[in-house]
């Protein structure tokens, strides 16, 4: 019994179903971005926002939303990170929404995908912190007072290493739990009854993508903050 539609592709199987799903979604996203880029045009037309719903309007909406969020959370110097966060948000959102198609198991439901994304964010914010603050970045691991160093170092290291794990666990397990609920109610009575839970699933997919992006943003904001 195959666990999802993508595991029916020859040579994929259950073990690599999440890789195939992520690949298909990424290919679709890349195609969509090319269409959006073509619709954007150059010069005068690129400055005026899209009037009606199109690929371009969709990506403009997401970019504007993430840019507003990063202005609020990171501040003015966060503009440089907006492309990364917008890409992460789009990827997680579309992957989550793929799970709403009956028969599909999204790649973000698999712990392998989400932990990889969590660790990507972990390395990213550490590198940004070192780039922004230099060696002084490592000073915030040591706490405010010198005789607290043995205690603060342990606490800070644990709290930093738990971040990627909690990012990954949250995304994967919330989606898994949500799909379990939908599955149970589908088994209970298949007509009409699961509709509210599909609604809940849509809500959860959007909120979890938002939370993943927001928490990575907070981590980057904490790492790149200047002491004034």
């Amino acid at each position: 019994m195959a666990s999802s539609l993508t595991s029916l592709i020859p040579g994929v199987g259950d073990t690599y179903a999440h890789v195939a799903t992520a690949g298909i979604v990424s290919a679709g996203l890349i195609a969509a971005t090319f269409i959006a880029r073509a619709q954007l045009g150059t010069g005068e037309t690129a400055v005026v926002p899209a009037g009606k719903l199109s690929f371009r309007g969709f990506f403009e909406f997401i970019t504007e939303f993430i840019q507003g969020l990063s202005d609020m959370v990171i501040g003015e110097h966060g503009r440089a990170f907006v492309p990364m966060f917008a890409a992460t948000f789009t990827f997680v959102l579309i992957n989550n929404l793929v799970g709403m198609i009956p028969g599909m198991v999204p790649a973000t439901e698999n712990l392998n995908t989400t932990l990889a994304m969590g660790f990507f964010m972990f390395f990213a914010y550490n590198i940004f912190g070192v780039k922004e603050n230099g060696v002084a970045y490592f000073k915030h691991f040591l706490g405010p007072i010198w005789w607290l160093i043995p205690l603060m170092l342990v606490i800070e290291l644990i709290s930093h290493f738990v971040r990627p794990i909690s990012l990954g666990l949250r995304l994967a397990n919330v989606l898994q739990g949500d799909h379990t609920v939908v599955g149970i109610f589908l088994n209970l009575f298949p007509i009409g009854l699961p509709i509210p839970f599909y609604m809940l699933g849509l809500f959860v997919a959007c909120v979890q993508a938002f939370v993943f992006t927001l928490l990575s943003m907070v981590y980057v904001a904490l790492a790149t903050a200047h002491d004034h």
Binding site: M72, S166, L169, R170, N173, V207, F210, V211, L214, L215
Partner: protein, 106 residues
């Protein structure tokens, strides 16, 4: 309120102690061990849900208080509220993972 929770906890502990006292032969021991694991998984996620629900309720209540007092602050209150909710929720998800591992031990 507090004494009610304490009474429930004492009752549950007593019930679990009783099940281990009645387990005699090998088959019964295995069954009661499986029962204990099932109970532990249920308790883990149940207790975590109680704590997480209370925490998230307090977060939502104070956020709504703030918005009711100053409706213009809605967009500014929203983001920190979501961060708070996500951090509270992560503890419940840890408990969910533990419950999941426990279920795999059958």
């Amino acid at each position: 309120m507090k004494s009610t929770i304490r009474n429930i906890l004492i009752t549950m502990t007593a019930a679990m102690a009783a099940t281990s006292a009645f387990a005699q032969d090998a088959a019964a021991v295995a069954t009661s061990q499986n029962g204990m694991i099932a109970m532990a998984a249920g308790l883990a996620i149940g207790l975590a849900a109680i704590g997480g629900a209370i925490g998230q309720a307090m977060t939502a209540a104070s956020a709504l208080d703030g918005i009711a007092r100053n409706p213009a602050a809605q967009s500014k209150v929203f983001t920190p509220m979501i961060i708070g909710l996500a951090l509270i929720e992560s503890l419940v998800i840890y408990a969910f993972v533990i419950a999941f591992f426990l279920q795999g031990k059958f």
